[in-house]
């Protein structure tokens, strides 16, 4: 019997942890982090950037299944996006996609904060005006 507290998408991501594999050692990276393990949720994100867009992402997370699934989900969702997309990304998108219950919405703010922190840490490349 499946656990009704978690959607199938959450269950799959917690089981398979897609997006947790390390990025290449020489990747140009935008990294962001938010939260605190002591307070029950921390998310660390790294996005490999090429030509101003995200090539792939990697997450690390401590938290409930919804936090882990959302951190995993953004590594897929933000592929191909630019810095502006990260800077304005909203947690509600993950809440809808993963069918996160309202009681857990607050936890997704940690994911949003980590994404926007990565936007602030967007790599400066030669010739870029960013």
């Amino acid at each position: 019997m499946s656990d009704p507290r978690y959607s199938a998408a959450v269950c799959r991501r917690v089981l398979e942890l897609p997006g947790s594999a390390p990025l290449p050692a020489d990747a140009v990276v935008a990294a962001g982090a938010a939260g605190d393990v002591e307070h029950g949720a921390r998310v660390e994100l790294r996005f490999q950037v090429a030509e101003g867009r995200i090539l792939r992402g990697q997450f690390r997370a401590f938290g409930c299944p919804h936090v882990i699934a959302a951190a995993s989900w953004v590594t897929d969702r933000l592929r191909g996006k630019d810095r502006d997309a990260l800077a304005t990304w909203d947690w509600r998108e993950a809440a809808d996609a993963l069918e996160v219950p309202p009681a857990k919405f607050g936890r997704l703010l940690t994911v949003q904060d980590a994404v926007r922190d990565a936007a602030r840490n967007w790599p400066v490349t030669p010739g870029s005006t960013v």
């Binding site: 089981l15 390390p22 290449p24 050692a25 690390r60 997370a61 409930c64």
Partner: protein, 392 residues
């Protein structure tokens, strides 16, 4: 998916021998009648079943049969003990002593008694989870009327020295109530030897049915109790309501089996628990909760640093384990028991209670150890570390 059941502290499967006894009191031709209807043969047979069970329950805890009052479970027994005794003896005093790590059946009753004008001292256990007899003695006052302390702590499994505490209370003329929901049938307890005035027991923690329990009430000298339920005057007026013959007969059989097999069960189950602890303690960052040796056989509480409790429990979907007391798991707050022991909120949330029973096998315990080790390793692999994330 096959589920390995390691939540026997929440409830146990009924022993087939108990089911048999229960079924004998259910259908046509069985001893199903109302045991108060002793004007006919079926009623007298049902009454005989009830009285046999009463003797079996009394025997296990060193009581006389007439001391046993049937209830719907340990929660009701605890309520009857605390409200019944406090309200009856309120003219003598209004002070009650208990501990911070009691079951909500006791804590919530004490809070209600506070609203009724009683004063309650909540003793803090040591880091090992145990309230020492000296703490109880120091808390007693001239107006103390009841001490309430559980025999076995339901989340971490530590065992209180109820004998010493009982003798302290008896010497001071204070009533001693023991919630033995987790201890009865698993550890020896004797209301006479241990000077226990009120003992709450239940069937379903020791392979009996849910919905039935008992309160053993001291008779010599007689202890006054105000009933909670009024109606037919059953149980000498202490607990009105038609007696559920099938549940009571099953509880009697449950306790009779426990009396015969307690030491055998305890030896086997503690061997499995020790094996499980050795396996889990090989994983870095796994901590034992509660006293290492003063504990019941079937309960192992471990805190696992570096993983979040809800996620671990979700990942261990093929294990039926608890993150704490079953009665508390509807709340998101960390366990008040583990916090009382000094665990931080985060560590308290990263805790598993693994509880074994009569039907737990070595294979199940080995599987549980493998699964927990695997999931802890997997979830830690994605947990943020103090150091930056490594590249490939």
């Amino acid at each position: 998916m096959t589920i390995v059941y390691l939540d026997n502290a929440a409830s146990t499967p009924m022993d087939p021998r108990v089911i048999e006894a229960m079924l004998e009191c259910c259908g046509p031709g069985g001893d199903f009648a109302n045991p108060s209807a002793t004007g006919h043969e079926p009623g007298r047979r049902a009454r005989a079943r009830v009285e046999q069970a009463r003797a079996e329950v009394a025997h296990l805890v060193g009581a006389a049969p007439e001391q046993v009052v049937w209830t719907s479970g340990a929660t009701e027994a605890d309520n009857l003990a605390l409200f019944g005794a406090a309200r009856f003896h309120r003219a003598k005093g209004r002070h009650i002593v208990t501990s911070r790590t009691e079951h909500p059946a006791v804590l919530d009753s004490c809070r209600q008694l506070e609203r009724e004008g009683f004063e309650v001292t909540y003793l803090k256990p040591g880091p090992d989870g145990i309230v020492q007899p000296s703490q109880v003695e120091e808390a007693l006052r001239s107006d103390t009327i009841i001490v309430s302390l559980m025999h076995v702590q339901n989340e971490i499994g530590v065992v209180h020295d109820v004998g010493t505490i009982g003798r302290i209370c008896r010497a001071r003329g204070v009533l001693f109530h023991v919630d033995a929901a987790q201890g009865a049938g698993k550890l020896p307890i004797d209301v006479g030897r241990d000077c226990i005035d009120l003992l709450a027991v239940t069937a379903h923690k020791v392979h009996g049915p849910k919905g039935v329990g008992a309160l053993c009430v001291r008779r010599e000298p007689r202890l006054g109790l105000v009933p909670l339920l009024f109606g037919g005057g059953q149980e000498r007026g202490l607990r009105s309501g038609t007696l559920p013959t099938h549940q009571i007969a099953a509880m009697g059989r449950t306790f009779a089996i426990a009396a015969e097999e307690m030491s055998l069960d305890a030896g086997r189950i503690s061997g499995l628990r020790d094996w499980l602890w050795r396996a889990l303690s090989a994983v870095p960052g796994v901590l034992l909760n509660g006293h290492p040796t003063q504990r019941v056989a079937g309960i192992l509480s471990v805190t696992i640093d570096g993983v979040e409790g809800e996620t671990l429990l979700h990942a261990l979907g093929d294990l039926a384990v608890s993150s704490g007391s079953a009665c508390a798991t509807t709340h998101a707050e960390p366990s008040y028991v583990l916090r009382a022991l000094g665990r931080s909120d985060r560590l308290a949330q990263s805790t598993l209670r693994l509880s074994l029973g009569r039907f737990t096998t070595r294979e199940e315990v080995e599987l549980a150890a493998r699964r927990i080790t695997t999931e802890v390793t997997r979830l830690r692999s994605i947990a943020p570390a103090a150091a930056p994330m490594p590249a490939a």
